[in-house]
Amino acid sequence: MIQNTVWDVSIILMGSVAAIFIGVAAGAPVALENYGPAIASAYRMRVWLFILAAVVLVAVNWRTLGELPYVSASAQGTPGIQRVDAVGEQWSWTISPTHFTVGETAEFHVTSKDVNHDFALYGPDMRIVTQVQAMPGYTNILRYTFKKPGIYRVLCLEYCGIGHTEMMSDIKVAAAKSVTGKTP
């Protein structure tokens, strides 16, 4: 799950930066006799840090930009993908259809009748699996292939007025049937 990876990596990096600051602050009251060589060494280190950061930046962007969720106009309406219309308005969702099976790919056509909403799809464990903005005047296309059976919930994640938290709707995902017709 992306959230767990992001949390782990962030906490490690944030903790590392914090540790550097704490270490420097704690040692700072004791003056260094000859500051020149130390600062020269630090600036050489910064060059290497810059190179490392640049490599990480290129690698992560190269990797993640290859997995964009945006669906191109030519790919919309692909056979075998279930079209789902999702319309938000203050303060409810109208979604059709709402029943799927594991392995099925839904293509959500998301829009709004009034203000900005955000169509956030929560998995059975109440963790977000994907989302897209619902905007008046626009239809945003979002695809998701259901991986687990259970009740998925759609929440609004763009503040839209007093009933914002009431914008919850359910989507039911059944387990995939085996070739014998029995549910595994």
């Binding site: 959230q3 600051f21 600062i39 992560v60 993640t64 964009l68 945006y70 203000v115 977000i128 626009y138």
Partner: protein
């Protein structure tokens, strides 16, 4: 080069009193807004019960107030230090404060009297779709309040740039562009305060003008419903303004780091080519990175969203590798005698650098798909704003007013603020990783543990900040300690 001593009068207005007035207003408003935030966390934790309409009104006031007061206090830092190098008008500085107070009254009135609860991002067309919660007049008062505050900042930034141009001959020279590209010796570059003030003023002028355009358009839509405009365009304009304004608060406040730390370490802040290049690039990036707020708006041109992700990543480098690195090398084994002011500005740099990490993560499209508008967002922005910008500003407040304050108040405030702040932002980040939405008046039972830990952190932040602000007020009658150090 022109040097203006703080305390000298221009047009009959005392600059020292003006700076203290800014900080006094900051202390009061900051604490009030923190109490609003604390109240919201209490409500989410289900330890108090407030109605959703009240919750969202407080949310709107908290967001607007915090953005405004960080802008105001950042302006005080910038103006105080930049006027040592260029001539600036005290009258314009005071006018900005007056505009701010008038605008703040309009905004508070829109909320507490008119019930306006459209959030500080006032996303079009929400202000005109209140569901009966507020009137068009209430929304108009809110927008007029923002416009009035914007006018004040516009005047101030124009005056700062006028001063910079009068001394350095141009905005490029104020930024140190020639030094950045190796076309002039580093030693001839502008002081850090001037480079930062140039960047901040250029960026904020562009952002404020764009913000004014969308606010005026939205004001028309409130009273002429037949007049509509594109919602995606509106969102672009709003986030351009909002992103720029809130980021510039940090770029103004960081001047306190450049000035206060060297006074304590007795080492000049190193202004080399990398430093100037960082400020030139930061100017370009703060003006172009805003699409990272729109990564879930699939109707946006894809190239803009890809650019938003890449620029988000690149924009972290100047922070981490120039300012944070500069602070660390400036302090490293310097023999510093830590004061509350030095400690707070150092914490501010750390908070900024640490907060950049989860922010960059959120600026990545595939991460944004599962973390956008969760508590991860207030988690990262509170890290670099509360533990970053606000810490720098409190350090400036301690520097200006802490000379004769009771000695224990400062350290107690600093440590309570720091520990509380760390708990507070980690609770938000953990909530975000668990998919807890932001801006929810009512929380599900599974989300309460994050909220309740957050309440503890928020409470400590309020206590710590109260001690630091009290320390400032107690010292108001004494001479400005900043004057003495200069």
């Amino acid at each position: 080069m022109t040097t203006q001593a703080i305390g000298t009068s221009r047009g009959g207005i005392d600059a020292g009193i003006a700076v203290r007035a800014y900080l006094a207003v900051t202390g009061i408003v900051l604490l009030l807004m923190m109490l609003f935030g604390f109240t919201m966390r209490l409500a989410q934790a289900q330890w108090i019960n407030i109605e959703p309409n009240t919750f969202y009104m407080i949310l709107t006031m908290h967001g607007s107030g915090m953005v405004g007061i960080t802008g105001l206090s950042g302006a005080a830092v910038m103006w105080y230090f930049v006027r040592r190098h260029v001539p600036v008008s005290t009258g314009v500085f005071v006018a900005n404060l007056v505009f701010f107070l008038v605008g703040a009254l309009l905004i508070l009135g829109s909320g507490f009297i008119g019930g306006f609860a459209g959030a500080w991002t006032f996303l079009y067309p929400l202000p005109e779709h209140s569901g009966g919660l507020w009137s068009a007049n209430a929304a108009a008062f809110y927008m007029l309040g923002l416009l009035v505050i914007g006018v004040g900042f516009l005047l101030l930034h124009l005056d700062v740039l006028r001063g910079i141009i009068s001394v350095y001959g141009g905005l490029g020279a104020g930024l140190g562009a020639k030094q950045a590209f190796g076309l002039a010796p580093e030693k001839d570059g502008p002081p850090p305060a001037v480079a930062a003030a140039t960047m901040a003023s250029i960026s904020n002028i562009v952002g404020i003008v764009i913000g004014a355009v969308v606010l005026v358009l939205m004001l028309v839509t409130l009273y002429v419903p037949s007049f509509t405009f594109n919602t995606l365009l509106a969102k672009n304009l709003i986030y351009y303004f909002g992103h720029t304004f809130i980021n510039v608060t940090i770029y103004m406040a960081v001047i306190a780091v450049y000035e206060i730390l060297p006074m304590h370490t007795h080492r000049a802040w190193k202004t080399n080519r990398a430093f100037y290049l960082a400020w030139v690039l930061s100017t370009l990036m703060v003006l172009t990175v805003y699409p990272h707020h729109l990564l879930m708006d699939f109707a946006m041109p894809t190239w803009m969203l890809i650019a938003g992700q890449i620029i988000s990543w690149v924009s972290g480098l100047p922070v981490l590798l120039v300012t944070a690195f500069g602070a660390l090398t400036n302090v490293y084994r310097s023999g510093i005698k830590w004061s509350v002011a030095a400690g707070l500005v150092f914490i501010g740099v750390a908070g900024w650098a640490i907060g950049v990490i989860p922010a960059i993560a959120d600026g990545t499209v595939i991460v944004n798909s599962v973390m956008h508008n969760t508590q991860w967002v207030p988690g990262h922005f509170h890290t670099y704003l509360l533990l970053g910008m606000v810490a720098m500003m409190l350090g400036f407040m301690a520097y200006i007013g802490g000379g004769r304050a009771p000695s224990r108040l400062g350290p107690a405030g600093l440590w309570t603020f720091l520990i509380g702040g760390a708990i507070f932002v980690l609770a938000f980040l953990a909530g975000g990783a668990a998919s807890v939405p932001r801006r929810y008046a009512v929380h599900l039972p599974g989300w309460l543990p994050y909220d309740r830990v957050g309440v503890i952190g928020a409470g400590l932040v309020v206590i710590g900040t109260s001690l630091l602000v009290t320390r400032f007020f107690l010292a108001l009658r004494s001479p400005m300690s900043g004057d003495g150090i200069r």
